[in-house]
Amino acid sequence: MSEIDSAPTDHSSFLVADCGKSVTTVALFDAVDGMCRLVARAAAPTTVGAPWSNIIVGIQQALKQISEVTGRILLSEHGELIMPARTTGAGVDHFGATISAAPPLRTVIAGLLQDVSVASARHALHTIYADEIHTFSLADNLTEQERINALLEAKPELILLTGGTDGGDRGRLRELAETIEVGINLLNGSQKTHVVFAGNRAMREEVTKLLEKSAAYQVADNVRPTLETEQLATTIDILGDLYQSLKIENLPGVDDVKAWSPYPLLPTARAFSGIIDYFAALYEGNVVGLDLGSDSLSYAISGPQQQRLLVRTDLGVGAPLPNLLNEVEPGEIVKWMPVEITSSQVYSFIQDKALHPYTVPMTEKELYLEQTLARLLLRTVHNEALVSWHWPALPPLEMLLVRGTTLVNAPRPGQTVLTVLDALQPTGIFSVAIDKYGVLPALGWLALHEPLATVQALEGGALVDLGWVIAPAGQAEPGKLALKIVVDSERKGNLELDVTSGELEVLPLAPGEEAQLTLKPARNFDIGFGPGHGKKVTVYGGDVGLIIDARGRPLQLPQDETARRSLLRQWHWDMGG
């Protein structure tokens, strides 16, 4: 009897593939003692490009690795996934996939005011994998002819047309729509250019009449109905669907993948934000997720008040790394290095890393440099997120979830925590966990379809806890008291500690170990309950321990180079080297 002919099992198992630009990761979840657990994961090169030109080949290669390690047969002789799982142990019940291997959607944003409609269009666009290849606004001073020729040169797949508050200016929006109509008529080949109109509601009928014949046209709510309000939901939905149909559905071999799964294929960033939403609901608080990839950077926050996602395809630790220099000067990077380095060395390193995007550091200096670049990439996107979402500061967090090789594969876990603390400078009391096994998108997919299995997989240790952070907001002279802490743990008994301003302390607290903390901040420090107000809290240990970050906010670095490098080295040592 072949594996396919044997009987199905009476429990559910899940196989989820995450197809990235360079690597395809497959995670297998199955019941262990009645609970869903991550039982195996494997990675293989993504096979979208030549010579394979079929995304399923990479998935099959990863599945073969799982079979080699676990002995569980997943593929038939013909390379088909065995579904449902058999009593012999072969196969799996459900298959799903998340995808970031598709190229970004080439988009032109057209709007009126840079800081109003164009900014809101950009906020919507940054929720999908998209490249903003050109922008038209009143500030660009382009003639109609220049805009038409710019469109012809850019050859966008999508034009996101916004502008005007509801009932506001019509004339300039009309001119813009007319220019686009002329441009896309000249541009259209065998397929029509997609246009999404998300501007002045009063112009909807007129713009629709103008563009619906020339373009593959859709209408969304005005992204900026008033100067003070932003409504992005319908635009975000349409953009998500367009990315799905224009990019994911056109990947080579995608039909083979779909034949294995009744579930829609999910963009990885969506799956990532999905698991962040899941944690936020679980903890009833704000959770931030950071996914620092080679070719993109995703920043997600979810909580009772909001669910936000920001995706930048022009920033990452690989090929797009030189774009960081559009955001920060090499000198700023030098400033965060704990060892001596010149701006020119930083510049050379960045360009060379872009040529060899998946390489890893082999010297302490390059390790520091990669972590510094990660810090500034995260900080750049964090700052953009605050501006985009109109937040003066990051709201109090329950949890910070971190993903991406540079961060999760740091030689010492304290380096990961220090990098994200320096980048986001969060305050309050929160935990930090990392996606060591690269399964967060898979968990995001699972959370959508089998929430209970997700809880069980997480309880089984699918993520790695690094510890809890106590980070009071405020500033005081170095050496002045910032926070009094009493740590009460079953294993270590009672410990009283005075933490002074400027200090970074790590107390050992093993993974899973519970401790009661009595926290009493000084008058000018706030841990989330008002200046000087303390509280008793329960925290848990992790690979780093309990971290008390009393360096103040915003972080201040000494002007003097020697003193600055010495302080940065001190912070590294404080966090375990």
């Binding site: 293989a44 060899h356 998946y358 890893v360 082999m362 010297t363 302490e364 390790l367 594969n409 030689p411």
Partner: protein, 353 residues
């Protein structure tokens, strides 16, 4: 199974390369035909852009009245300075002429859209060989045999000329004194490039291309401005040329080579050097697979402190182990030229195949 990044450095191999137009046009060679590097294989007309004339605004008339003042019909060829619009009045008349050569493409909402006369774009074979296949309207695949060397960066241009190695070893820079009238039409090879004056002198002496191990990162943005291709085989971190590549180029001295300097290089479309050679018996066929890492293979190390060094894989470690700085990754022990054996994580290995 570990599959590291790979660079093809082959003295003799069967090579097939696509030559495609940027937009549909006409292929003018046929399957099986022998082509020379300078031979045009396909051509198309390349758009120069559109000119928009706001006719209604210029004439001061409603949009729908513009056609009444047109002196040419839609789709008609027009010449620069020829009248396009005329409005006669009782006391004065207005006339507007075409600012470009081209056609009146469209009259749309009171505007005249003029399409400028396109340029003829000719696609040359750039390498000698046989037309292996034709994609009608777009281009061809050319098959040849010869040396194939993949680079890591190119300045975006293509070129063809005789290889001339100007430095004695792979660690020396190309200098101004290497360039004189004697190298006119040649492709120059050196360990690395670090002086801009060299490029100016190369341009003045009609050099057809430069191949070096590395260039300074700050110089890279300037290189696309030169009309000849510049290919970098190692990177931007001051690396000398890999010994295997330098040796092979030395062996190709005075032979005709084609340079393809793709700027937006992907793993599938890297910049490359092709030296066509007569086909012999048993020439290795085009490789389509990505071989796994194995003992005995030649690898190049991509990161400091061994960046640019070439060695031989002694042992493959398929499971994670600690690197010198504590990173845990699979990798391989590599024997370097000085006899030292070092563990290198697999992402830092580039398999020379």
């Amino acid at each position: 199974m570990i599959t590291p990044s790979q660079t093809t450095v082959k003295p003799l191999i069967k090579i097939r390369r696509q030559r495609m137009l940027p937009q549909a046009g006409e292929v003018i060679v046929s399957q099986g035909q022998q082509v020379s590097p300078v031979q045009v294989v396909a051509r198309t007309s390349q758009q120069k852009g559109f000119t928009v004339i706001p006719a209604a605004e210029l004439l001061g008339v409603p949009v729908e009245e513009v056609p009444a003042y047109l002196l040419v019909e839609e789709g008609t060829a027009i010449q620069r300075k020829k009248p396009l619009l005329r409005k006669s009045g009782l006391f004065n008349s207005k006339q507007f002429t075409s600012p470009v050569n081209g056609i009146l493409y469209e009259v749309s909402k009171g505007r005249l859209i003029l399409q400028q006369t396109p340029d003829l774009f000719e696609l040359r074979a750039m390498l000698p060989g046989r037309v292996y296949s034709v994609r009608s309207g777009w281009g061809v695949v050319i098959e040849t045999t010869g040396t194939l060397i993949q680079a890591v960066w190119g300045s975006g241009r293509e070129g063809y000329g005789k290889i001339r190695v100007v430095t004695d070893d792979r660690e020396q820079p190309i200098q101004e004194q290497h360039i004189d009238a004697d190298v006119r039409g040649a492709i120059l090879v050196a360990g690395y490039l670090d002086q801009r004056q060299v490029l100016e002198k190369a341009a003045a002496n009609s050099v057809r291309g430069i191949i070096v191990g590395s260039v300074p990162a700050v110089m890279a943005p300037l290189l696309p401005n030169y009309r000849f291709p510049i290919l970098v085989t190692e990177g931007f971190a001051g690396q000398p040329m890999a010994p295997t590549i330098f040796r092979l180029l030395q062996q190709s001295e005075e032979r005709q080579a084609s340079l393809f300097g793709n700027k937006e290089a992907t793993q599938e479309k890297r910049p490359e050097i092709i030296v066509s050679l007569p086909a012999g018996e048993g020439v290795e066929d085009v490789q389509q697979t990505a071989p796994a890492l194995e003992a005995g293979q030649q690898v190049r190390i991509l990161r400091a402190p061994y960046a640019g060094e070439v060695g031989e894989v002694v042992t493959v470690h398929p499971y994670s182990r600690n690197s010198t700085i504590g990173l845990r990754l699979p990798g391989a022990d590599v024997s370097l030229a000085d006899g030292q054996v070092v563990f290198v994580p697999y992402p830092n290995l580039d398999l020379i195949k």
